[in-house]
């Protein structure tokens, strides 16, 4: 099912790109590479690693291992519109219906035999313990040994070294399962590609800050978190370049992502992954544009190719979702200022203890800047729990409030 889905997706997007080959087609190129990644994961022809969210994907790429975090599969299942059967399968197996939908979906898919048995499994202790538990469950189902990267929360030289040493162990672990050793030249090339993609993504985000923004509610959805899967590859560079070119052209031509942009919004945490009318409603009825997502940012320095383990460890440890909430709060406050935000939307994904546990602190922290936050209470994966009317009322009331009581950080 998933292989067919990705193959259909690839041919559909490819045909659309061929129709307008002279356009940057950034979003389509991004979606095309996602489809190609899905095909590689499900074709049975490649070495596959199921991973945690912050695994070093460029390092895995250098070892010829096609890899992705399992939440990606949960999001893809939601996008297909058929996620309900997988969620039910996991619930039948005893998983609580109020746990994270991303993890329930992927476990349900594994129980139904729709997750290929991986060559290796690399879990990460960050960003959530639910993800680690899902990986442990999957490892048991697949009868595979799980390698766990223990990501420390503090940014100290000792912590960075601790994680860097684990990457070396991870490489030995992968080598013992695949027979593949890490070629230093290949790793250097992968890191060079990561750094180039990073440079371009910095430019993309800088362009998105423009008022009005070339970005809109769809163009950069899931961008930052999924781009991690393309680090170390040519595809990553090409996607980022397409976005950079598209945004530059739009700004040059005086075009904005949402025509006559009036309201600039920040989306906290992850997106609603299934088809829904809320973003379109915001854009068409209120000219409100989601100009930035919390997960769309570059928070790491270019990696020294002479010492990649240290650089990758530093990149992982300093990500805003790791460690104390204050780090995350400072990050969303920084984004709010940089993007001149009027208001923020927090989906408060059901079952995400780590995300919703910080809800009050994030709301209070943004309020200090004069940025109001609306909390949606939505399951970003489970279509069965989607209360459109309730969500629409919350968002519309939020827009009405912003219209009558303008706040935000515009000049």
């Amino acid at each position: 099912m998933m292989l067919q889905y990705f193959q259909m997706l690839e041919s559909r997007i490819d045909a659309k790109i061929r129709k307008t080959p002279d356009k940057p087609n950034a979003r389509r190129k991004f979606a095309l590479e996602i489809a190609k990644l899905g095909i590689r994961l499900y074709s049975g022809e490649h070495r596959v690693a199921w991973c945690g969210v912050v695994a070093p994907f460029d390092m895995l790429s250098a070892m010829n291992v096609t890899s992705c975090f399992v939440e990606f599969v949960g999001a893809m299942l939601a996008a297909t519109g058929n996620v309900g059967m997988f969620l039910e399968e996991s619930e039948h197996a005893g998983f609580g219906a109020d746990t994270c939908g991303y993890h329930r979906a992927v476990i349900g898919a594994a129980l139904k035999g729709l997750m290929p048995v991986p060559d290796v499994m690399i879990a990460t202790t960050c960003p959530c313990t639910g993800g680690l538990a899902a990986m442990e469950n999957l490892a048991r189902m697949f009868n595979k040994e799980l390698f766990v990267l223990d990501v420390p929360s503090s940014d100290t030289p000792e912590s960075v070294q601790y994680l860097a040493n684990q990457y070396k162990d991870m490489i030995r672990f992968i080598g013992s399962r695949t027979g593949e050793s890490l070629d230093e030249g290949k790793l250097r090339k992968a890191i060079e590609k990561s750094n180039r993609a990073r440079e371009l993504m910095v430019e993309v985000y800088r362009l998105a800050e423009n008022v009005p923004s070339p970005s809109n509610g769809r163009s950069l959805a899931n961008f930052g978190i999924v781009m991690a899967l393309f680090l170390g590859t040519d595809a990553g560079i090409q996607i980022a370049q397409a976005y950079r070119d598209e945004f530059e052209e739009m700004i040059r031509n005086g075009q904005s992502g949402v025509p006559e942009e009036k309201v600039r919004l920040l989306w906290l945490q992850n997106r609603i992954q299934f088809k829904n009318p809320l973003i379109k409603m915001l854009e068409q009825e209120y000219q409100a544009s989601i100009v930035i997502d919390e997960l769309n940012d570059i928070t790491w320095e270019a990696i020294d190719t002479a010492d990649p383990f240290t650089g990758i460890a530093k990149r992982t440890i300093t990500m805003p979702l790791n460690g104390e909430i204050n780090r995350r709060l400072n990050h969303v406050r920084h984004l709010s200022k940089a993007y001149k935000i009027d208001g923020a939307i927090n989906p408060c994904h059901w079952g995400c203890r780590q995300g919703t546990g910080a809800r009050g602190l994030i709301q209070a922290g943004l309020k200090e800047l004069g940025i109001p936050v609306v909390n949606l209470e939505v399951d970003c994966v489970d279509t069965r729990n989607f209360a459109e009317g309730q969500l629409r009322t919350r968002l519309e009331a939020f827009m009405e409030m912003l219209q009558t009581n303008p706040s935000g950080l515009r000049d």
Partner: protein, 264 residues
């Protein structure tokens, strides 16, 4: 010129008709039932009949409530949060916190000094503590919903309900009746449980409610016992208009007047 506000809620459909000066000519409350269009027509017909005017004399209509998009002759649809705030501000100027408990949701709205919405919060995920909840409890107690209003009289306040889930609370009420607990004690426990939930909701928009001017709208405000419990919880008087269920429609009518006059 006349201006109409229609609030199509889950339990009732309310209408308020204003004259050119913003004075209330008539208001109506009819059950929503299964057929929304019929409820809208009935609520509208009632106010037109009382005012002695015809539909074509209405300059502008604004709709609100969960079914706001189903009111066909609307100039605009505005959320119930904005409409209740506008309505309560016209009745009790200076209100700082509005509590609106309707049929299937409850809201806390903080108003600024101009009576505009400064912040709001809605009930999470379920309808515990709303009109539907009280309907279920009245059924369990085998009393009319209107009777609940005074049934807590004389209670000592010793009963604490452990669950606010409508299904579990209903079975808990049945168990308490079976145990011989007095009805007034059970009703008092229900009212205090609702108040406790509302306090948590209000705290999200107003971390300290000390000294704040609080008002209440929505059908549940007819229940004096709930209002008393809220008043005790907040240690302050809760202002309740004579027709709390029409506050949303009133706000919609006021917005209709504003838009209608601006349009002409």
């Amino acid at each position: 010129m006349y201006f109409l506000g229609v609030d199509l809620g889950s339990l009732s459909c309310d209408a308020v008709l204003l004259d050119n000066n913003g004075g209330v000519l008539a208001s109506s409350v009819v059950p929503t039932g299964a057929r929304n269009r019929e409820a809208i027509a009935r609520a509208t017909d009632e106010v037109l009949k009382v005012a002695g005017i015809t539909e074509d004399q209405i300059r502008a209509t604004v709709s609100t409530g969960y079914g706001r998009d189903r009111v066909e002759k609307r100039l605009a649809a505005v959320t119930e949060i904005t409409c209740h705030a506008r309505g309560i501000n016209s009745l009790f100027g200076g209100t700082q916190v509005l509590i609106d408990i309707g049929g299937q949701d409850s809201k806390a709205v903080r108003l600024d000094s101009d009576g505009q919405v400064a912040d709001f919060a809605m009930n999470d995920k379920c309808a515990a503590g709303t009109g539907r909840f009280l309907e279920a409890m009245a059924r369990a107690l085998q009393v009319d919903i209107e009777e609940l209003s005074e049934l807590d009289t004389g209670a000592s306040g010793g009963v604490i309900l452990s669950s606010m889930c409508t299904v579990f609370a209903e079975s808990e009420v049945v168990s308490l009746i079976a145990d011989g607990v007095a009805v007034n004690e059970i009703v008092s426990g229900l009212n205090r449980a609702i108040a406790s939930r509302i306090v948590a909701l209000v705290r999200r928009v107003a971390p300290t409610s000390d000294g704040l001017s609080i008002a209440m709208s929505g059908g549940v405000a007819h229940n004096h016992g709930v209002v008393r419990a809220l008043s005790q919880a907040f240690e302050t008087k809760i202002s309740v208009p004579p027709k709390p269920d029409t506050v949303g429609a009133l706000g919609a009518a006021l917005i209709a007047r504003e838009k209608g006059i601006r349009g002409s």
